[in-house]
């Protein structure tokens, strides 16, 4: 068993450097100065997950986002089929080191998680949560605004991608419908 208490003390310095470099490369914190990044390092939460361990579950109230420092994370959509006892899990995507997920919870008020996240292998994640963002905005508004702007940009990109997908799907359905009706006409 991993000794979580002693490991935290011995490896803390090494971990800090690793977290610092991952944060610096992250889109959300890319505009921050070295001093501001040090502030963020002190605020974020480092969490370790076992293979197969759930990070958060679909339907739970989300509090914030996670950045993958080490390991792989699977994102699932859970569906309850009618008359079936078990919940069906559909893999949506697999995320690797440096990527982040769950950022919508940073701006939602008591918003629920739209998917389930599970560690595929031993994973180390950095959690940045709504209380942390509010603390940054309260204690250092300039830094808070930089992060919030980046967050808005990410959410905008996600919205654009979703809109494109929806219009693609609509076109696809429309084309299929037209093809079906012309085939039926013949």
């Amino acid at each position: 068993m991993v000794n979580f208490i002693w490991e935290d003390i011995i490896k803390s310095k090494e971990k800090e450097t690793q977290i610092g470099s991952v944060l610096k490369e992250n889109f959300l914190f890319a505009e921050l100065s070295k001093k501001e990044l040090r502030f963020i390092e002190k605020i974020v939460h480092v969490r370790k997950y076992r293979p197969g361990e759930t990070i958060f579950r679909q339907g739970e109230i989300g509090v914030g986002m996670y950045i993958i420092i080490h390991g792989i994370v699977d994102i699932f959509q859970e569906r309850q089929a009618p008359e079936a006892e078990d919940v069906e899990r559909v893999l949506i995507t697999t995320l690797h080191e440096g990527t982040f997920f769950g950022e919508l919870s940073l701006v939602e008020d008591n918003g629920k998680r739209s998917a389930t996240a599970c560690a595929k292998e031993e994973a180390v994640l950095v959690g940045f949560f709504k209380p942390d963002l509010l603390e940054v905005l309260d204690r250092n508004p300039v830094m808070g605004v930089k992060i919030t702007f980046r967050l808005a940009e990410i959410l905008g990109q996600r919205l654009r991608a979703t809109t494109e997908k929806v219009s693609q799907l609509r076109n696809h359905i429309q084309n299929n419908g037209e093809a079906g009706s012309s085939a039926g006409g013949k």
């Binding site: 991993v2 979580f4 759930t54």
Partner: protein
Amino acid sequence: MKRFQKVLRRERIIKLISVLAVLALGATILLAVENMLLSFVLAFVISYLLGPFANRLERAGFSRSVAVLVPFCVTGLLILLGTIIMVPMVSAQFGHLKAEVPKYIEGITKLMSETEEYVNVLFQSFYRVDFSSTVEAKLSGWAGTIFGDLPQIIGRMFTVSLLAPLFAYFMLKDGQKFMRSLLNLVPNNLFELALNLQHQINIQLGGFIRARLLEAAIVGAVVWVGLAIISFPYAALLGVFAAVTNLIPYVGPFIGAVPTYLVAFINGDSGLQLMLITIIYAVSQLIDIVFIIPLVVAKIVNLHPVTVILAIIIGSEVMGVLGMIISIPITSILKLTVNTVYNHLVNQ
């Protein structure tokens, strides 16, 4: 995978026990060590009051240590100045009160025996009451204890006034760090729930403490100024008493007014003077009820009046006056915790 699940479960249990052990140890220290609970409650109050100033200074570019230290120094200076101005006034009133205590005890006893006589006439032979002798003995004993224990009370106040600011300073400077360390021990499956809960409790408690202190200060000031205007004795003491008792919801304002009416009855004040006293207390409560409670307090604590009264009764049984004052925030924290945990576990 099965082995991992077993290890995971064991790790979660160990972490949960660690968190609960830290919390239980903290609670034991607070309850077992003398002056610790009061110092801690006061430290919370100070840290919630000075926190916004510290954050404001940090926003202006000061380091956290300096940003926390400056409000402490400024407040310390203000308190020192206030003490220099207030102590002669309050101690003169207190000395005067000490000299006049036998007169007031006699007056209260007389008032009691008159009431007793009236009640006995009213009930004739159905029921006879005799409480004036008991009350006199109790009051004499109580007054003797208060003035006899005064050095001990002052010593206790001195310890608390040293410990509370010290705790408050470290709460403001390292409180987040400590909370993060505690949250590190929380198992992953409960982590977001614990973080969310801690954040909501922090917001609710901060708002509640600031609102209640604002209420108490306004009520105390109105009573003090009002009584001073009508040249009523012990205006400063009665103002402070009204402010402190106002922290107890519902019954506090009535308790706060009792000594004033007793002094007025014993001194044989006129009906006009009694009416003026009633107006002063009514105005202080009107300001509280019309402006402060709807605008500030009601938004923070959403408890049913029956729950509030039950909480106050339980608080007074367990911890006396301090229990009555802290029963409401503790009840609202319990309500918040139950709601949040329920939403997390059931409402998925």
